[in-house]
């Protein structure tokens, strides 16, 4: 095979043109390339997810690196950062290398492991982050996601220590004492439903503390899944002061609200919880403005028995990889440059993933995805590539469809189907 010619494609929303993919890079040589009629389709740099739970090792019944990679490719991603809360926890070079290797074997996206900040995510003792950084997995982002690094002294040390290898701490901002037993956003709806509240201040207090710590020690901080209007304000002020902080928002926090808990269907249970419509509005604004830098999925597959149960007993989290771009399109509209920035260029830069999030210019690595913006699809959980079914969008009609995805010039998705 001698490459693909994407005919009449709109590159990041630009005028129709032809794009050639050959030998892993964007090329100018059209000769002999397989032609794909791309009229009406939009090419974006391959999406990069800073926040994915692939569940392997440990919960292969919910997801594996392979099934998660397939879901990612079908969602337009060419790279995902795999969170450390596996079993065993990714807190050693051995585990991160295993995940990295499984990603290579699956070969559908680049799987970049995230290392744990503390041993066993227990928040007590710093994990061997240096060893993970120098391992084959080349870890740069460290996170105890699922848990907050709540101890301020430990958080300070972690922020400082990773400076040696330009690491970054991605904080799950949740003051644990304020969220004991918490089930959903604290407010009108939690009061009505009799579910223990997760107050916005529990997130905002940690972000406020952490930006001050990062400022104090001059380190890089990344804030996972920002969910409240108050957090946006804290971030806005920190950024204005020049603190080296970046932040992500999930697609579901850009769209869904706490009212959905009224069904008591745990498919809507997630951590941090769905908030109010005014939080949603503030998050959207912050994303456009750049106060929030990226959209990250927090793709969190769960086995059926962990969701088909009482709300309080269900695990928090929802699928995201295969619907993220559609949600972002429905939230931001077809603002392709903005979308490319928030879903590809900026996350690639934060994660330090060379070859991802680059402009689709001749000579660049051919990591890209092809979107049909006019397509509409009804989400059917049974059709998802993820091993789990816990999508909150079951039965809803979403705009946009991924037609093809290329990883270093090789198609991972063609005609809307995974190639392997």
């Amino acid at each position: 095979m001698s490459g693909f010619l994407l005919k009449g494609v709109s590159v990041v929303g630009g005028a129709p043109t032809d794009l050639v993919i050959r030998d892993g890079v964007i090329s100018a040589d059209k000769s002999g390339a397989e032609v794909i009629d791309a009229a009406g389709l939009v090419a974006l740099p391959g999406l990069v997810d800073l926040h994915t739970h692939l569940r392997e090792p440990g919960r292969e019944d919910a997801e594996t690196v392979e099934t998660g990679s397939r879901a990612a490719a079908l969602g337009g991603y060419t790279a995902v950062c795999a969170m450390a809360n596996t079993s065993p926890v990714a807190d050693t070079a051995g585990v991160v290398e295993q995940v990295w290797r499984l990603g290579r074997e699956a070969g559908l996206v680049d799987v970049q492991p995230i290392g744990a900040v503390t041993v066993g995510l227990a928040g007590k003792q710093l994990a061997e982050v240096g060893a993970m950084a120098t391992s084959a997995a080349n870890v740069r982002i460290f996170s105890d996601d699922g848990f907050c690094v709540a101890d301020p002294r430990l958080m300070r040390r972690a922020l400082e220590y990773v400076k040696a290898f330009d690491g970054i701490i991605a904080q799950h901002a949740e003051e644990p004492r304020l969220t004991e037993g918490a089930q959903m956003h604290e407010g009108e709806v939690s009061t009505r439903l009799g579910l223990t509240g997760w107050p916005a201040v529990a997130e905002e207090a940690i972000i406020a503390r952490d930006v001050l710590l990062a400022e104090h020690v001059g380190s890089r901080l990344h804030v996972c899944h920002v969910s409240t209007a108050g957090s946006v304000e804290v971030l806005r002020q920190a950024k204005a002061r020049g603190v080296r902080v970046t932040a992500e928002v999930t697609p579901h926090h850009l769209l869904l609200t706490d009212e959905l808990a009224a069904s008591y269907d745990p498919v809507f249970k997630v951590n941090p919880p769905l908030r109010t419509s005014s939080d949603v509005a503030a998050l959207r604004e912050a994303l456009v403005e750049g106060v929030i830098d990226v959209v990250a999925t927090d793709h969190a597959p769960h086995a059926v028995e962990d969701k088909e149960c009482e709300w309080a007993y269900a695990r928090p989290g929802m699928l995201g990889l295969e619907t993220a771009l559609s949600i972002v399109i429905s939230v931001l509209g077809e603002r392709w440059d903005l979308i490319a920035d928030r879903m590809s260029r900026t996350p690639a830069r934060i994660a330090g993933l060379a070859g991802h999030g680059t402009d689709l210019a001749v000579g660049s690595p051919a990591n890209l995805t092809l979107v049909d913006p006019s397509a509409r699809r009804v989400v059917d959980p049974a059709e998802l590539a993820s091993r789990s079914r816990n999508t909150p969008y079951s039965g809803t009609t979403l705009p946009g469809r991924i037609v093809a995805t290329f990883l270093r010039g090789e198609p991972t998705v063609l005609d809307g189907k995974a190639v392997k």
Partner: protein, 307 residues
């Protein structure tokens, strides 16, 4: 007629009134020698209790048996439930057994909603977590109506741990539907956020019991668990009962006709003194008897017609 009773919000004024009227007929029947009625012969009512509550279970059991339903008690202890069978699997089992109604008591808020999505029969909430206990609200409303003759315009204070109280939530909803004015009283730590917006905008909140009492027709004391002290909801049992407990001196501040209620079980000496609990204003014993009539009414109205 409604199919399930998961929340007091399932009841509009007409339906709630019909239940209370029916309960009155049921109560009249309870006075006669033969208490049993053939009405629900051949129907199966399952009492699915994940939490110990002998009072509520017995009340539902008596109600179902007086209507001649077959009653199956399925309690968490000594059954597959404690061996980790999921609520859904249990639901499918009950479904296969042909349960016409499942009365569920569960420590998780919303469990009755989940159950209703898995069984064909009616689901009756007998208390779910810190959410609701609608039949308790019905028997409370019935008790108020029979003592005071009406509900519309009644002023009702609900005092204590509103935050963790399923009784309070159901009462606010039902009493408001029936035209009563509810004031919630307790320390700010035990009044849930946005309670009026969450349940009924007319609901008032006060942190001062003494100022509220002179205006009330009904004061309902909620059980306050002393363990809440450990979580710093209040400093000590002594301080709690001084500020929010109902003793004789406070009871005298109530208007002459006002009644004192308590859903039970009481912490005598904590939220209510024994003299108040045993006074003629107290409806605590009546509430128990009215519980059977109210539950008979609910069972009849949910199961007594075409499914």
């Amino acid at each position: 007629m409604i199919k399930h009773l998961r929340s007091a919000a399932d009841l509009d004024a007409a339906t709630a009134t019909l239940i209370l009227d029916t309960a009155a007929e049921m109560a009249a029947l309870a006075g006669r020698e033969v208490k049993k009625l053939p009405t629900l012969r051949g129907r199966t009512v399952v009492n699915l209790f994940y939490e110990d509550s002998t009072r509520t279970r017995i009340s539902f059991e008596a109600a179902a048996k007086r209507l001649s339903a077959d009653v199956i008690n399925f309690s968490a202890k000594g059954s597959s439930v404690s061996k980790g069978e999921s609520l859904k699997d249990t639901a499918l089992t009950l479904q296969a057994m042909g349960a016409d109604a499942v009365v569920i008591r569960h420590s998780a808020s919303g469990a009755p909603h989940r159950l209703a999505s898995w069984v064909d029969g009616s689901v009756i909430n007998a208390g779910d977590g810190t959410h609701e206990h609608p039949t308790q609200a019905l028997l409370d409303a019935y008790t108020m109506r029979s003592r005071l003759g009406r509900l519309d315009g009644l002023k009702v204070a609900i005092v204590g741990d509103v935050l963790h109280s399923r009784v309070a939530r159901s009462n606010v909803l039902l009493l408001s539907t029936l035209g009563a004015q509810v004031t919630l009283v307790g320390p700010p730590t035990l009044i849930p956020v946005d309670i009026a917006a969450a349940l009924e905008p007319k609901t008032k909140v006060s942190y001062d019991l003494d100022s509220v009492l002179p205006d009330m027709d009904v004061v309902m004391m909620l059980r306050v668990q002393t363990e809440r002290m450990q979580d710093s909801y209040f400093p000590s049992a002594r301080e709690y009962s001084r500020r929010y407990g109902l003793d004789l001196a406070r009871m005298r501040k109530l208007p002459e006709h006002a009644i004192v209620m308590h859903p039970g079980p009481m912490n005598r000496g904590m939220e209510i003194t024994p003299e108040v609990a045993d006074s003629s204003r107290s409806t605590i014993v009546e509430q128990v008897a009215n519980g059977v009539s109210a539950r008979m009414a609910v069972l009849y109205l949910l199961l007594g017609g075409k499914a």
